[in-house]
């Protein structure tokens, strides 16, 4: 008997055939990549746990439903976002984009060019309108050959967000992409995003993954980021998904000389998430500061795979990943640092700290250092434990009850990652969400960072009466 994964694979190949008949409008380089990619996918299939880097996430088990493919849905693209997603933007302005069930939503036009030359909108439209611009970047990350899932994405993803920031343009208003999934059937969604920052430009990009219901879904997304010389990207990713959702994000970051990448990924709720970050530091003095926080319980699973490649001299990278796990949650962390032969004066640091609140939660943490020259400062550390009992006692001796002492300690634990958010309003709001999550008040139904109530922000962070 064929297993479910083979059936899904077969359905996807049929989907590819159907799509390729209707893709005449796309430029040759895209179609060429799709052909290559589908061959790769046929060859590789879905990654299995036989692969070293996939030991922690079993797709064979997670791909256990009858899926509806988002490409086949007819989504009204001029739908008013506010009718499906109550986004109350107050005090925090973003350029807002939504992807709903794999389809970009736009009210007037799919692709916009702002006054300062910034291009933003549908990547599909960008392929048609700016083929020469996209072609320059298209195959740089080998999306079609990186693994079975990225190959699949390259072959059949129908849309996603494209952002182009021209040289010397510093966008002060953050851009926000909200990915929403809401459908009566289990959806299989694939999106592809590309963000290009030209020399000395600056962008804050906030990517949110939210579920509106808990009908389950499988999402396979690929994002590519190009950070040119002297450019700076502040990247935030907030994930609040339902327990039956499965999501694999593969993000490629390419940072050139003196380019700066700050990335902060916070997971509040999920079913199963795998975040795979591939960071290439390609030019002298490139900088990457990656941090992550996951607060998971029930049977939630998170797998953070970080690959940092120091390809040039004098680059800096830091990974700070922290997690609090309750009940039967489990997390996997792999921090792979590669330092090339010529990458002298490399500085690379990595920490992964976990707090297990129960005996049934589990953590797998693997540092992996691959260093090919002597002139390197490298460190890694991993700890997994319970809340510090001495500190708990100290707090209780001052009259604080066990529950609140626990909360104070957990707030303290997550603080380091939350404080890395540079946009103050976003930081306050995220902190509020983190605190609510730790108090058990935030579910995956709280749809959006912009949705959370900030009318009353206590200046002391904790109002004991609310605890």
């Amino acid at each position: 008997m064929e297993n479910n994964v083979d059936i899904i694979k077969q359905q996807l190949l049929e989907l590819y055939k159907e799509l390729s008949h209707s893709e005449n409008s796309l430029p040759t380089f895209v179609n060429k990549e799709r052909e290559l990619a589908i061959e790769k996918f046929i060859d590789l299939g879905f990654p299995s746990t036989d692969l070293e880097y996939w030991k922690g996430t079993n797709l064979q088990k997670l791909l256990n439903s009858q899926y509806t493919f988002s490409q086949k849905l007819n989504v009204d693209k001029d739908i008013d976002v506010s009718t499906i997603f109550h986004c109350e933007i107050h005090n925090f302005e973003t350029l807002f984009f939504a992807n709903y069930n794999g389809h970009n939503l736009y009210e007037t036009k799919p692709l916009t060019t702002l006054e300062n030359g910034v291009i933003v909108g549908s990547i599909r439209e960008a392929m048609i309108k700016y083929p020469e611009l996209l072609e320059k970047y298209w195959n740089k990350n080998n999306v079609s050959g990186y693994n079975g899932l990225t190959a699949l994405n390259a072959a059949v993803a129908n849309d996603g967000l494209f952002i182009y920031v021209p040289e010397n343009v510093r966008l002060e208003t953050p851009m926000q992409l909200v990915n929403l999934i809401s459908h009566p059937q289990e959806l299989f969604v694939q999106t592809r995003n590309m963000i290009i920052l030209e020399k000395n430009s600056y962008l804050t990009f906030l990517q949110c993954d939210d579920s509106l219901e808990d009908n389950g879904s499988f999402k396979n997304s690929v994002s590519e980021f190009y950070i040119a010389e002297g450019a700076e990207l502040d990247h935030y990713k907030l994930q609040n998904k339902d327990l039956s959702s499965v999501m694999v994000n593969t993000s490629f970051f390419n940072v050139e000389s003196k380019g700066v990448l700050n990335s902060n990924i916070i997971t509040f709720n999920t079913g199963s998430i795998r975040n795979e970050f591939v960071v290439n530091l390609n030019g002298k003095e490139a900088f990457a500061d990656l941090s992550g926080l996951y607060l998971i319980d029930k049977t939630q699973h998170i797998d953070n795979q970080i690959f940092i490649r120091h390809n040039a001299p004098e680059c800096f990278s830091r990974q700070t990943f922290k997690g609090i796990l309750d009940e039967k949650a489990d997390s996997v962390f792999t921090g792979h640092i590669y330092v090339a032969e010529g990458a002298v004066k490399t500085e690379a640091f990595q920490t992964n700290r976990n707090i297990l609140l129960t005996d049934t939660a589990s953590v797998t943490s693997k540092p992996f250092l691959e260093i090919y020259n002597d002139d390197v400062r490298c460190s890694h550390g991993s700890t997994t434990g319970q809340l510090d009992k001495d500190a708990m006692f100290y707090l209780q001796q001052r009259g604080i009850c066990e529950k609140n002492a626990n909360l104070l300690m957990m707030y303290a634990f997550v603080d380091e990652v939350v404080r890395k958010i540079k946009v103050e309003k976003l930081m306050t709001r995220t902190e509020n969400m983190v605190h609510r999550r730790l108090k058990g008040e935030l579910s995956s139904c709280d749809q959006c960072i912009l949705h959370c109530d900030t009318d009353h922000i206590d200046p002391y962070k904790i109002d004991a009466t609310l605890l």
């Binding site: 100290y394 009850c401 303290a412 004991a464």
Partner: protein
């Protein structure tokens, strides 16, 4: 106020307190002196309710209540304060958050309303001044990166904020230079009222030049072997701890 009778307590099967007796009345200052390893710190931790110690025998009546039956936090809310010998560092928990949470929980227990933010900050400034802690304290995490002296001042600062009925100060003088010692002692003396009591645990007589005790007890091998007034501390300082072995 506090009555400890025949208290015996162990850790990992080893008995440390071996029949400890002490009576403390409101308004009194008691000093407990003794060589290292006689159980002085254990006494403080057992009174506070540290779980790693097991009480084998005896009773502790505090303000008419069976202290040993109360949770750690309820002992604190009832006004028992322990100033620790080695205050723990808690990175990420700000002093403001910590103190505000503590004070409001204690107030709630006593049926009092929360302090307003303005009143709280005012009080904090006032008490900081008392122990000579700089203003920047408020933005720092609990004891994180504090010098030895700052940590001890911070203990007295917290005591000043919480205004306990019964304070047990464990080696609050250790590691302090003479100026810091004066500040800490001044804090303790200022907080003294006819209604509260203090137990000062110390290794040296030095602190007792600044905090004048009503009673001095010498502790040895888990119990009090000799009690007297403040002159006992001076006698002990002159004769040294070997003297205890002789009288024992």
């Amino acid at each position: 106020m506090l009555s400890i009778k025949n208290l015996k307590a162990s850790i990992n099967g080893k008995q440390i307190l071996k029949g400890f007796n002490l009576d403390v009345k409101p308004g009194e200052i008691h000093a407990i002196m003794g060589p290292n390893g006689t159980g002085k710190s254990t006494l403080a931790l057992v009174l506070a309710g540290r779980e790693i110690f097991e009480v084998d025998e005896g009773e502790v009546i505090y303000k008419g209540k069976d202290l040993l039956k109360l949770s750690i936090e309820d002992r604190a809310r009832e006004g028992l304060f322990v100033g620790f010998q080695y205050p723990v560092e808690i990175p990420g928990v700000s002093m403001v958050n910590f103190m505000k949470t503590a004070m409001n929980e204690v107030r709630k227990y006593k049926g009092l309303p929360d302090l307003s933010s303005a009143d709280f900050l005012k009080l904090m400034r006032e008490k900081q001044e008392l122990v000579g802690l700089s203003a920047s304290l408020t933005s720092r995490s609990v004891n994180e990166g504090f010098s030895g002296g700052e940590k001890k001042r911070n203990e007295i600062f917290q005591m000043a904020m919480l205004e306990p009925d019964m304070a047990v100060l464990d080696e609050t003088d250790s590691g302090l230079d003479i100026d810091a010692l004066r500040v800490v002692a001044n804090g303790v003396n200022t907080l003294k009222t006819p209604d509260n009591a203090t137990i000062v645990i110390t290794h040296y007589q030095r602190l007792l030049d600044y905090i004048i005790p009503d009673f001095v007890h010498i502790m040895y091998d888990g119990r009090i072997v000799k009690s007297g007034d403040k002159t006992l501390a001076i006698e002990l300082e002159e004769k040294g701890y070997n003297w205890i072995n002789e009288i024992n």
